[in-house]
Symmetry: C2
Subunit: 352 residues, 2 copies
DNA sequence: CTGAAAGCGCTTACAG
DNA sequence: CTGAAAGCGCTTACAG
């Protein structure tokens, strides 16, 4: 136990050199003779010297830290994306400062501000509200590059973004069902309140992924020459129980749907359970499609047909994109908006 | 876009006060008159002033950042624990510096060193190797409090720890099976190579959770007056396929087990699938128990009996413990070793 | 190759 | 309540 952390000054004194020389020997910059280096290294080891990154960052202007802001780390989607991020940034020598917002805008704003003040070299953000970008605007104006993931945000058109083509993903699921002969196709969604807006056609920025998926559902029906029957659009909150109720409601209709699309995996698990409890056979009596390839979707019988998002890839690409931005010494280049494709995986819940 | 970030000096100049006064007005410490405060705040807003936490930390000696080191964020177990940590530390004004080690000791050592140099106020670590604690020893000697989660580590007996009572957890599962009349109880484990060590009885520190669970299995059998039949101890790597093979092997034995315990949820999913594919009925022909209450365990038919770990709580307690340590200004208190209890949840895979 | 000095942007006694 | 000065622990021109 040292009474006082040894600093470079202490090491320099012990080695009989200047702090500049000690710094060069220890930091691996500049030129130092072999003999001197050894003396300094020995002194450092002797004193248990631990460099202070804070001081170093103060002068170099870089922290080798990136900020990552998500709504819920416990959600497998974000946990997997996060893994993609760290797998890419860690070998490059960057660490991750993580914030969990719980989907609260105020919490996100605080996190972005604090990270900016801690001088992260850049940040990756899964925003809580697609319509609120002022805090991100501030960060970018201060020179902190921002990469958006999963959701576009209005107000920061110059931020890079990596998203999944949710429009296409949902449409592909619907097309799959249409091809199988379904005409009454329902949907369980968190974005039910956006149906009107979605039907009239809005631009993607400013929409949640769930709303974009709802739009994909609507447009795919239209392409197939089918009407959008509002009684088949069931709203649910983001939890299993709510989805269970929504599915039960759909199945209890006078004219129930023969197939249902769930716009994410949490909703799908609730819906799946509802079908089980009603004793209906899949796909004979009702077909079901979910999102994300989670382990349970292949363990249940029948297996669940899903739209598989490239979740890990989403994080990895975001990490790479941010590192590129940080490395780019020239002025601001044009923003990159990368859209990843989701893939339909057909299983027993739709195909006999 | 400012050419040059505004510093406190710039704000002070613009407000016509000293940097000390500007700092007091902005930082909320010391005394400032209302009039002065307003002038300073106005100047700061005008210049788009963004405090530099690095500089502040240099002088205050605290970063309000804690380090969290895990083997795999994408694993629901760690993702959930991480959520528990952030939920506790974030309201207290701390952010998390995250490192993912992939279970690699070298990676963990690097992460711990870097975090220590970045001057985190403390760290929470789920160690890659229970036997390797030198790097943690260094951190603690440098005055950085460490809280161990999920795994004890030798060499740092003075670090706090929050773990699950895995001995008891596994034993309870076995007792449940014994009570149901089972006499041939198998186990699928990652710690098969430790069987000899575990049978001869070693202390907990220095053992992986999976090895501790294996020990619980062994001691519960003994308590029930049953012999440990080594042919019923099936080794598997940490993935579904390997567990699938292990279960298939057990079921193909001349005298197969009538019940099998899987020491974690990944192994359980592989084993469950193997039972399905062999067309065996649970629990009539074989009973199965897993770990962790994941969504799929209630979606499959029959539902899987599990030992439920208090995962979120594990993280939350670790966060609280670390905050306590950081707040404690007095010298080193005695280390706290908190053991959380797991809970058996009986479902259809063991009970008709 | 090495050193003296300045500076990164703050906070903290110490005076007034 | 306010300010001048020192200092946190490094790195970086600038000389030699």
């Amino acid at each position: 136990m040292t009474t006082h952390d040894a600093s470079l000054i202490d090491v320099a004194r012990a080695a009989g050199v200047s702090t500049a020389t000690a710094g060069r020997a220890l930091g691996g910059y500049g030129q130092v003779s072999e003999r001197t280096r050894e003396r300094v290294l020995a002194a450092a080891a002797e004193l248990g010297y631990r460099p202070n990154s804070l001081a170093r960052s103060m002068v170099t202007g870089s922290t080798h830290t990136i900020g990552v802001v998500v709504t819920d780390v416990a959600n497998p989607f974000f946990a997997t994306a996060l893994r993609g991020i760290t797998d890419v940034t860690s070998p490059a020598g960057f660490e991750v400062l993580l914030a969990n917002t719980g989907g609260q805008l105020a919490s996100e704003q605080r996190a972005v501000t604090v990270m900016s003040e801690k001088r992260v070299d850049g940040m990756i953000v899964a925003a809580a509200r697609p319509g609120e970008g002022a805090h991100l605007r501030h960060a970018m104006d201060a020179g902190v590059p921002v990469v958006l993931i999963d959701r576009q945000v209005s107000g920061v058109p110059d931020a890079d973004s990596i998203t999944v083509d949710n429009d296409h993903a949902a449409a592909e699921a619907v097309a799959h069902l249409v091809e199988l002969g379904h005409r009454r196709i329902g949907v369980i969604t968190e974005a039910g309140d956006q149906l009107a807006r979605v039907r009239s056609g809005t631009r993607r920025r400013g929409l949640f992924p769930s709303a974009v998926r709802l739009r994909g559902y609507v447009s795919a029906l239209r392409s197939a020459g089918l009407d959008v029957d509002e009684t088949l659009v069931a709203s649910a909150r983001y939890d299993r129980e709510s989805a269970y109720d929504a599915m039960t409601r759909l199945l209890g209709l006078a004219h129930p749907p023969t197939a249902v699309l769930c716009t994410d995996n949490v909703l799908a698990s609730g819906a799946y359970r509802a079908v089980q409890d009603r004793g209906l056979r899949m796909p004979a009596e009702v077909s079901l499609i979910g999102f994300d390839d989670e382990p349970w979707t292949t363990l249940v019988r029948p297996g669940l047909t899903i739209v598989e998002q490239p979740t890990y890839e989403l994080g990895a690409r975001a990490g790479r994109q941010l590192l590129d931005r940080i490395a780019a010494t020239e002025g601001p280049r044009r923003p990159q908006h990368i859209q990843l494709r989701a893939k339909l995986v057909a299983r027993g819940s739709t195909v006999p």
